[in-house]
Symmetry: C2
């Protein structure tokens, strides 16, 4: 069905949000106005395109301009953390309709966690007054490595029972829509870019919490790498950590030196009560001198690794997120101190090193973006059009 398959290209053009007449579209594609009319009709039947209400400018005549319709359909963005679950329902422009969160241990296993995701998803659809038919896709971030082609977690250290679990299949059985799964830091980097740096092509998002990892956007796209483990910077060796054993079995990994638990352990050794990253943040906020010094040093260690990363990638922006970023300028000052002393001026002249703007919301925003990108991709639109008669 050529006319309808051409509808997908027409849709991609309309994704810029600009309304166009049938004649304008016919000119842009070099096809007959009648062909365009068929394509527009197919997209309207799917609820993805609608006439624009410009009655005012045309004196009351029915509008002849058409545009992408973002508000009729929705996607679900899911952020699964070590001990929390956040879910948001957004429309196709990324605008949040409703959201919910739940304290829940990822270690309870995939069925328990994903059943809760399904329950919250259904609840959000209801609260927003949407039917299951309005849902186009689900995006999920999980705290571990994910095989990109299948969406299955691969040997995730803090997710017992999840290895190889068919996350997309499990939720597809409940909602009947495509399910995109990715590592949480990758998802957060997409969310942070969408929320704060939409025009930046090269960005590194670093999460510093119980572990350390990075999500890398280069040439405007998420970098997954050959085995899907790009951004695994927590196990790069830092000189200061030569005698520190990491949970990975190597000595001197950045994570063993500068992540939340490493700093918390040092504070405990000198009699402070700091269980984890948030305990460290609390001490910093109280102005504890030792906590300030240790957090600054952790920032320097992270800066050491990042200075190598930015010599290689030359990003425009480095965003520091995760619980340790809540210590604010103390941590970031350490990062900046090392980066500006170690890196060639040409690579840092326009560099911005900032705290995450979307904060704890980056996971849900990013997961929604993955779902929207997939839902509006040529492949998805072609699939939807296959069910429509031209």
């Amino acid at each position: 069905m050529p006319a309808v398959s051409g509808a997908s290209d027409l849709f991609q053009l309309l994704r810029d949000g600009q309304p166009r007449t049938r004649t304008e579209l016919a000119d842009l594609f070099g096809v007959a106005r009648s062909t365009v009319a068929l394509r527009v009709e197919a997209l309207m039947e799917l609820g993805l395109v609608a006439p624009v209400d410009d009655a005012v400018s045309t004196g009351g005549r029915p509008s002849s301009r058409f545009a992408l319709r973002t508000e009729t359909k929705a996607v679900l963005g899911v952020d699964i953390g070590a001990s929390h679950l956040r879910v948001g329902l957004t429309d196709l422009s990324g605008a949040r309709l409703v959201d919910a969160s739940r304290d829940l241990l990822v270690s309870e296993g995939p069925e328990a966690v994903l059943d809760t995701v399904a329950e919250l998803g259904a609840e959000l659809l209801q609260r927003a007054g949407r039917s299951a038919d309005d849902l186009l896709a689900i995006g999920i971030g999980v705290p571990g490595p994910v095989e990109h082609s299948t969406g299955r977690p691969i040997n995730p250290p803090i997710m017992p029972g999840w290895h190889g679990f068919d996350v997309p299949g499990y939720l597809h059985a409940r909602f009947g829509v495509p399910v995109l799964v990715d590592n949480d830091v990758n998802v957060m980097s997409v969310g942070e870019r969408e929320a704060a740096w939409p025009d930046v092509e090269d960005l590194i998002f670093v999460k510093v919490a119980t572990g350390i990892g990075a999500g890398i956007i280069c040439n405007g796209a998420l970098l997954r790498g050959a085995d899907g483990v790009a951004g695994d910077i927590g196990h790069i060796r830092v000189p200061r950590g030569a005698d520190m054993l990491c949970r990975c079995g190597n000595y001197g990994c950045l994570e063993a030196v500068a992540a939340g638990p490493a700093v918390a352990r040092k504070l405990q050794a000198s009699g402070h009560a700091a269980e984890d990253s948030l305990g460290v943040v609390a001490l910093v906020n109280q102005g504890d001198h030792e906590a300030l010094q240790l957090v600054r040093q952790a920032g320097r260690d992270v800066g050491e690794v990042l200075s190598a990363c930015l010599s290689m990638m030359n990003p425009a922006v480095i965003v520091i997120g995760g619980a340790m970023a809540l210590t604010g300028e103390h941590f970031i000052a350490g990062v900046r101190e090392v980066i500006y002393s170690r890196t060639m001026p040409l690579a840092t002249q326009h560099l911005q090193i900032v705290q995450s703007a979307s904060g704890l919301d980056a996971g849900v925003v990013g997961a929604s973006m993955l779902a929207i990108q997939h839902a509006l991709s040529p492949e998805s639109i072609d699939g939807m059009l296959a069910g429509v008669s031209p």
Copy 2:
């Protein structure tokens, strides 16, 4: 002129090399056969598309299938090194027609060098029996940083007189075609991928010679970074170099520790005659024990930096090129030794670490590829079509 502007899309489709009939093209684009006929005609007028000779299969009737025509037009690939100039003329499939090289110091300045490029280019066109009209674009790699948007070298340390010089303008005045200029290592990484790893999406090409730099292909595209200096790994700090001053003014840079001159200086200090990288290579090939040890250690130092790079980028292939790679397995063994002991298994399980396959030819191959990619881009084809009546 919509029909002709649609011709550009049609051309992009034909870039896969597969011949198609007008009817097949009409179906693929969802437009009338007569519209396709107009577009094909415009592309034939440009010499970019031609009927395929399949007289045998159709029993002698004139062919009705059309395909990309790669052999009628040509591009010039230019590799400018510190002390050499290599030029190749290739057709649009990248097949080399003729080439030439010249010993020439880049320090003689842009006019002297580019006049020689122009002279060799004209000579190659003549030798290949082509006219200036057959030339579509010129690609050039230079041994220094280049501002991507303008093609002008930016403070290149070993190219006195070239800072801010309008390389594209100078050669455009001679040949009247687009001129693409990029850093030599970027160009070599494109050439190496084209020649040896066409299906690999994530690759790091490392040149180890007088300096050390990398060309990075990620998600299938060259990474330039925010300021065009991605891949500048020669100034990442290595622990072993703490007291070694680099020409950049910092201490401990990889380049100050492991590039050709650093190794040559150590050999000189113990009474060997080694002027530069090639002197080191000669001693290694003679089996000199000290040279072997020093080259292996230089490999370890490069491996140290690369282990950080690959934790971040997770490439499928690391290619070692430049003069020091001519020491063969001795250097690469040092690289592998450190990478496999330092890096998480998930990032190295499928990794290949290899010597450059295209060797000294990578620069010309890559420069030709840049020129071909530009010449066949939608923008260029649109520009050419603007001069053709539909």
